[in-house]
């Protein structure tokens, strides 16, 4: 399954992302296709390494990876390898199959690829041959990469590749993608294919029309004549697989395992990431300090230190967590467990009027709601789709991660267990809100039942660290690209809004500063305290008079019932543009408390030390909890609304999503704040 690999791309970037249709005429392109779970991604990574970029198929929301194949040693220029979405057959009425078909047949706007590599799973050859048969019927130059031959051998299958190649009329290269065995030979075969441009000439010709029975008969014949080995291998009971399946899909145990796995996943992310996070904070602090000491005082220094470095630091600090999350999810996906989890989820989802297939979009939404909503195209039924689109953004996306870290850190400092629990609680709250909302929508606006589920259960495997590293790198890079563009821009604007217009310090502050000067010699300690107080008053005054302060004060009455002051209101409002901005906005808005423990500076310490205008702590437990609840539930993502509008075909659904989510967030935050206060927690 590659359900989780959708990158967190911003739709605004899609204009600049390379598109498959516009690859330059000179570069040869080779398409890579195969059934899901055949090791296609692993092979792609082996062939191209990290030299891959994400592109989109024009007119669709399906993402593709394009890699560079280095065939120089084979006397050829570089070749673009296009990783097509995994599909069981070309003639399926599913979006992935449609994309593959359109690309391979060169239907506009695609330029037909110069050749294709079909990855097949040697342990499951007959079924994989359907796709090969269809590809041979297309008539493009083809190479078959026979993957997982290690597993086939272990199971006692003997595959005669020479015979297979003759029957199929195209080269068949045995590979073990996971170990990189045979990748050299595959390179050579691809170079040779591009040189000769020979269409396949099968000895056992596949049926030309899309008739399943004939295709199956053809596959059986090829199998019959090229595969030897013990009969009935794989038919008998594999007790380990059977037992694991029993456990993982068990009505009660299955759910417990699911909760334990997901809880463990998030706990690991939470606890392991702290080390690199601390390092990053220290580094950026050093950088800020260095800039402060080298640059002359003025607007430029302020912009760089407070706007740029401060803003980026507040975002990049969460990179370790995002990478770790995707690293672990990739490992989990590799094991084969997630397909079982899909069934556990199906039982749950269908009660809420969602199809089992909604598991894919909903799980992807944990990375980012954008690819999640886009992947709802996999859901055939329109009502099912709309319901899933509407609730997908409730899932805690990685952009909320920084906010969760910050606020759970504030709530449960030095109690990682409780923080982890609260963290898991956020994910559950989001998922719960999504399900209840789906139920409400299915009972009112979108009446009807969901479609039943059919899913391949891949064999259990040891996960591949290499794939996990690729996945983490890929997602981390996507996050940094966003951080480097949108977030940086917002940081600069935020800094400007909060620093301008510049005002004279208030009279009280001037008075205090004057007193401090006079006491400087007689009582240096008192003088220092006074001048600190003066500075704080001055900067508070400046902030409240700034543009940001004025905006926050105007909107404050709306958020005051949730326990927020104007500063927090500004944070909440700006995070509508992109949630991860919240943390950096807060870091820019709130000045450092000079009294803070010097060992414990950094974003979290800064936010913890923040004060209201009356001098009381901004983030009391009740406020932090109410803020956390608000961020779990609120629709604070402009790009998501744009995608919802596009995918649902109407601005009305996007408006409903915004009003529903934000309304729910406000109500729940209100209840949390006042509930906690009633219980004596302020």
């Amino acid at each position: 399954m590659t359900m989780l690999e959708a990158p967190a791309a911003e739709p605004a970037e899609s204009d600049s992302t390379p598109s498959i249709a516009t690859s330059p005429e000179e570069a040869a392109t080779v398409a890579l296709l195969g059934n899901p779970n055949t090791g296609k991604t692993t092979l792609f990574n082996q062939l191209c390494g990290l030299r891959a970029k994400t592109a989109n198929f024009p007119g669709t929301t399906t993402d593709a990876q394009i890699g560079r194949l280095d065939l120089k040693s084979d006397g050829r220029a570089d070749v673009d390898l296009v990783d097509l979405p995994g599909t069981y057959r070309l003639r399926l009425d599913l979006p992935e199959a449609r994309v593959c078909r359109d690309v391979l047949e060169g239907r506009a706007p695609y330029r037909s690829p110069d050749g294709a590599v079909v990855v097949v799973d040697a342990t499951n050859l007959a079924r994989n041959l359907y796709l090969v048969g269809e590809m041979l019927a297309v008539g493009r130059p083809t190479v078959v990469a026979l993957n997982m031959v290690d597993l086939a051998q272990r199971r006692g299958l003997s595959l005669d590749t020479a015979k297979l190649s003759r029957f199929l009329g195209c080269p068949v290269v045995p590979v073990v993608a996971r170990r990189g065995t045979g990748v050299e030979e595959l390179h050579r075969a691809i170079a040779e294919m591009l040189r000769t441009r020979q269409s396949p000439d099968p000895e056992v010709p596949p049926p030309s029309e899309p008739d399943f029975e004939r295709l199956a008969a053809w596959a059986d014949e090829v199998m019959e004549r090229s595969v030897g080995g013990p009969r009935a291998v794989g038919q008998g009971a594999d007790t380990v697989t059977e037992r694991l399946d029993q456990a993982f899909t068990h009505p009660l145990l299955g759910i417990l395992v699911f909760l334990a796995v997901m809880g463990g996943l998030f706990w690991t992310v939470f606890s392991l990431a702290t080390v690199p996070m601390d390092l990053i904070e220290l580094t950026f602090e050093g950088l800020g300090g260095w800039l402060e000491s080298t640059l002359p005082d003025g607007a430029l220094r302020q912009l760089l230190v407070e706007g740029v470095v401060g803003g980026i630091a507040g975002t990049v600090v969460f990179l370790p967590q995002i990478c770790l999350l995707f690293f672990l999810i990739s490992l989990l996906e590799d094991t084969g467990y997630l397909a079982r989890a899909a069934f556990v989820m199906d039982r749950l989802l269908c009660r809420f009027g969602l199809p089992g297939t909604a598991f894919v979009p909903l799980l992807s939404s944990h990375a980012c709601a954008l690819p999640g909503i886009m992947s709802t195209r996999l859901i055939p039924d329109r009502q099912d789709r709309l319901a899933t689109i509407l609730v997908a953004p409730f899932m805690s996306c990685s952009a909320r991660l920084p906010v969760y870290v910050l606020l759970t850190g504030l709530l449960f400092a030095d109690r990682p267990f409780l923080a982890g629990l609260a963290f898991t609680g956020c994910y559950l709250l989001g998922a719960g809100a999504a399900l209840i909302s789906a139920l409400i929508f299915r009972g009112t606006l979108l009446k009807g039942k969901s479609r039943p589920m059919v899913l391949e259960l891949p064999t259990y495997k040891l996960p591949s660290f290499k794939s996990a590293i690729y996945s983490a790198t890929h997602q981390g890079r996507a996050f940094l690209e966003t951080a480097g563009t949108v977030i940086l821009a917002i940081c600069i604007v935020m800094w400007w809004l909060s620093a301008y217009p510049q005002v004279e310090p208030p009279a009280v502050a001037a008075e205090l500063a004057h007193q401090a000067e006079q006491l400087e010699h007689s009582d240096p300690e008192a003088a220092a305290a006074l001048s600190t107080q003066a500075q704080r008053l001055a900067s508070r005054h400046a902030q409240s008079r700034s543009f940001a302060g004025r905006i926050g004060q105007t909107a404050e009455p709306v958020f005051a019932p949730l326990g927020y002051d104007w500063q927090l209101t500004v944070g909440v409002l700006t995070s509508f543009l992109a949630r991860e901005v919240f943390v950096s906005t807060m870091a820019v808005l709130l000045e450092t408390d000079p009294d803070a423990d010097p060992d414990e500076r950094g974003v979290i310490a800064e936010v913890r030390a923040a004060r209201r205008d009356d001098g009381s702590r901004l983030f009391t437990p009740a406020t932090a909890a109410s803020c956390l609840v608000f961020f779990v539930l609120a629709m604070q993502c402009l790009p998501t609304l744009a995608v919802t509008r596009r995918e649902s075909g109407s601005v009305r659904w996007a408006a409903l999503q915004l009003i529903w989510m934000s309304g729910l967030a406000w109500i729940f935050a209100f209840v949390t704040f006042h509930g906690l206060r009633m219980m004596g927690v302020s």
């Binding site: 009425d93 399946d245 199906d346 039943p452």
Partner: protein
């Protein structure tokens, strides 16, 4: 849109047609008919489960798990109830017995 796969009546010489959900885990059976929508049916086909395909029931109860050649397929309760099958004594066509 209810597309029938094959003749839903039992064929000569075989046991009578039953529903998949009446089978016991571990037993082998052949698919007779799947009363599914066209797209769901096409997906089952692509996964290797077509009419006359021999398979083994690995797990009963939602999700029902069957194995067709080397592919394990999970079926939700709802799908499983719509599959009509006949018991298979194991003397299937040779190709079905390969792991493939």
């Amino acid at each position: 849109m209810d597309t029938r796969l094959a003749n839903p009546s039992p064929t000569v010489g075989s046991e009578t047609a039953t529903r998949l959900t009446d089978l016991r885990p571990g037993c082998r059976a052949r698919l007779l008919a799947a009363h599914l929508e066209r797209d769901d049916l096409a997906l089952l086909h692509a996964l290797g489960l077509a009419e006359r395909s021999s398979f083994r029931l690995c797990k009963a109860g939602d999700p029902w798990i069957i194995q067709v050649r080397g592919t394990r397929i999970g079926l939700s309760q709802h799908v499983a109830e719509l599959l009509q099958v006949e018991m298979d004594d194991g003397a299937g066509s040779p190709a079905d017995d390969h792991l493939g």
